[in-house]
């Protein structure tokens, strides 16, 4: 197994109680493997402890990118949250912790 971190970079943003995480392949050839393993459900489970709502996934294959939208992710939003990282800015890096099969690398 390998970590998504080796294949992609990511950034998270916040809007109210919603966090979005963009995951972008370093090399576009790895996008199909990433997209097949990194489903919305996989992401939802990864964040199950902190995300209470649904997770949507948008695909931008021409950019090698996936955009995940996590609802109920920020304990009420940046103003009300008791969390240290109220914006969820660390979430992108946490997502890169996800494990993928070694075969996901460019052959």
């Amino acid at each position: 197994m390998m970590k998504l971190h080796a294949l992609a970079h990511a950034r998270s943003g916040d809007k109210g109680d919603i966090c979005n995480i963009a995951v972008i392949a370093y090399e576009i050839a790895t996008y199909p493997a990433i997209a097949s393993h990194l489903t919305a459900e996989r992401v939802r489970q990864h964040f199950a402890a902190t995300v209470s709502g649904p997770v949507e996934r948008y695909e931008l294959p021409h950019l090698g990118a996936l955009n995940f939208v996590l609802h109920g992710a920020l304990a009420g939003g940046v103003n009300r949250s008791l969390a240290l990282d109220t914006h969820g800015k660390c979430y992108a890096a946490l997502l890169l912790d996800i494990e993928l099969p070694e075969s996901s690398r460019v052959p």
Partner: protein
């Protein structure tokens, strides 16, 4: 005014606390026509409104004067026009403050235009019954609302620029509209040409976070390296009259632009890329492509747009109690056990004081304050860690109790705790709403120096 073929816009700030030096570099050698300073976050206006209630001459961004001191003279010399939303809750006072600085620096004949009309609190109160039917939550928070501001679009800024303003200072405006406005003004774009408006919003969206486009918030060495980050240059957008754009930065600055940095910013705070809603247009970023033209020059194409929404987004801010917190560090052998004991003690003392568990967060910084599923048994033997207790309370006094209990561990807790900190903050919660477009009435007021 002669017909312009292209325009260069620089981002002078991507948020209220952003660095000032890179804006000075842009003014000195960025060869830009406009500098845009984006300085408002979601709750910034509410904080500014509280300040305005205390002092009617304040209520604009606290760093506005410092920025203008550093930049006014050089922008005047270079013929650079400034657009900023630093007006926050008091654009009129902000304009007067800028004019005062300009006069003191001997910069005469400048026009500073304030855009107001985003403040719709009066409108909400006037139609309270209607809005309470649409937003039932409004009834409970009515007495605690401190501000309500609509996100205006580019039009009033365009009008101010058309009137010859050297500096335009606004309250709440959609961030990308700050960049769309100089494009519309310069190229006389039709604001109902939706695909063209979409292209303009793409420019604004990529530019609005300053350093995030040029290699800021990007480095992850050794996988992902960024040169000379300490000297990170802010971005420049070169836009043509037909809406084509190349992103770049000033020469001899740190950082870099690439397809990767631009793609990260493209999707920042975006949900469905086909529907990026702004007051001026619903932009469609789903077909955007980037291409590298040369070192630190990245072009973008493929943005489009659809008709602007019928309603304007409004954010109403209201007081919602307090959050108190305390932190304390433990180090050396057995630090984890002492830290966990400390949390148990504080939790029990606060429970006895009537603070229920679900309003309280007890965590270990360095172990599980961000990664909430961290398995403590596998953390082995951290040489140092920091406890954090945070909780919600209705009064400032009760909120302060939390930090007090953490600090009291010095003489009433486990061995060796050090470096206690505590804090209380007032919670300003936000209620997003929609109002009819014509409920906001933008006005322009000009100060001349």
């Amino acid at each position: 005014m002669s017909a312009r073929e292209s325009l260069r816009i620089g981002t002078g700030a991507g948020f209220s606390g952003d660095r000032i030096e890179p804006a000075i570099v842009l003014a000195e050698r960025g060869d830009v026509d406009f500098l845009v300073f984006e300085c408002l976050a979601e709750r910034t206006i509410a904080l500014a409104q509280l300040e305005r209630l205390k002092d009617p001459a304040r209520g604009f961004d606290p760093r506005l004067e410092e920025r203008m001191e550093a930049l006014l003279a050089i922008c005047r010399r270079q013929g650079i026009r400034i657009i900023t939303n630093s007006g926050a809750a008091n654009p009129l006072a902000g304009a007067r403050a800028i004019a005062a600085i300009a006069r003191r620096l001997g910069l005469r004949g400048m026009k500073v235009a304030a855009v107001t009309g985003d403040d719709v609190l009066g409108h909400l109160r006037e139609h309270a019954e209607t809005y309470k039917r649409e937003y039932p939550e409004l009834a409970a928070i009515e007495d605690r609302i401190i501000s309500a501001n609509a996100y205006l679009g580019a039009e009033p800024i365009v009008t101010a620029l058309d009137g010859g303003a050297d500096i335009v200072i606004t309250g709440r405006v959609a961030d990308p509209a700050l960049f769309l406005a100089p494009l519309v003004h310069t190229f006389r774009w039709s604001m109902t040409d939706w695909p063209l408006m979409g292209k303009g919003i793409l420019v604004g969206h990529l530019m609005e976070c300053a350093g995030q486009l040029t290699g800021g918030y990007f480095a992850d060495p050794p996988l992902c390296t960024v040169p000379d980050i300490a000297d990170l240059g802010f971005p420049i957008a070169e836009v043509s009259a037909s809406g084509e754009v190349v992103f770049t930065k000033a020469p001899r600055t740190g950082g870099f632009l690439s397809i990767a940095t631009c793609t990260q910013q493209l999707l920042y705070e975006v949900h469905d890329p086909r529907e990026y809603v702004t007051p001026d247009v619903v932009a469609d970023f789903s077909a955007v492509r980037f291409f590298e033209i040369g070192p630190n020059r990245v072009g973008a194409e493929g943005a489009s747009g659809r008709r602007h929404p019928d309603k304007l987004k409004v954010v109403a801010a209201y007081l919602d109690g307090y959050i108190g917190e305390g932190q304390l560090s433990y180090a050396g052998p057995n630090a984890l056990a002492r830290a966990q004991l400390a949390l148990d003690i504080v939790r029990e003392r606060l429970r006895r004081a009537g603070m229920s568990d679900h309003e309280l967060r007890c965590e270990l910084i360095g172990i599980n304050s961000v990664v909430q599923t961290a398995d403590l048994t596998s953390s082995s033997d951290p040489r140092e860690l920091r406890i954090r207790v945070a909780g919600r309370a209705r009064t400032a006094r009760d909120a302060a109790r939390i930090g007090d209990e953490v600090e009291a561990l010095y003489t009433n807790g486990p061995a060796g705790g050090g470096g206690a900190t505590k804090a209380v903050r007032e919670v300003i919660a936000l209620l997003p709403m929609l109002i009819p477009r014509d409920s906001a009435n933008p006005r322009i007021t000009v100060e001349e120096t």
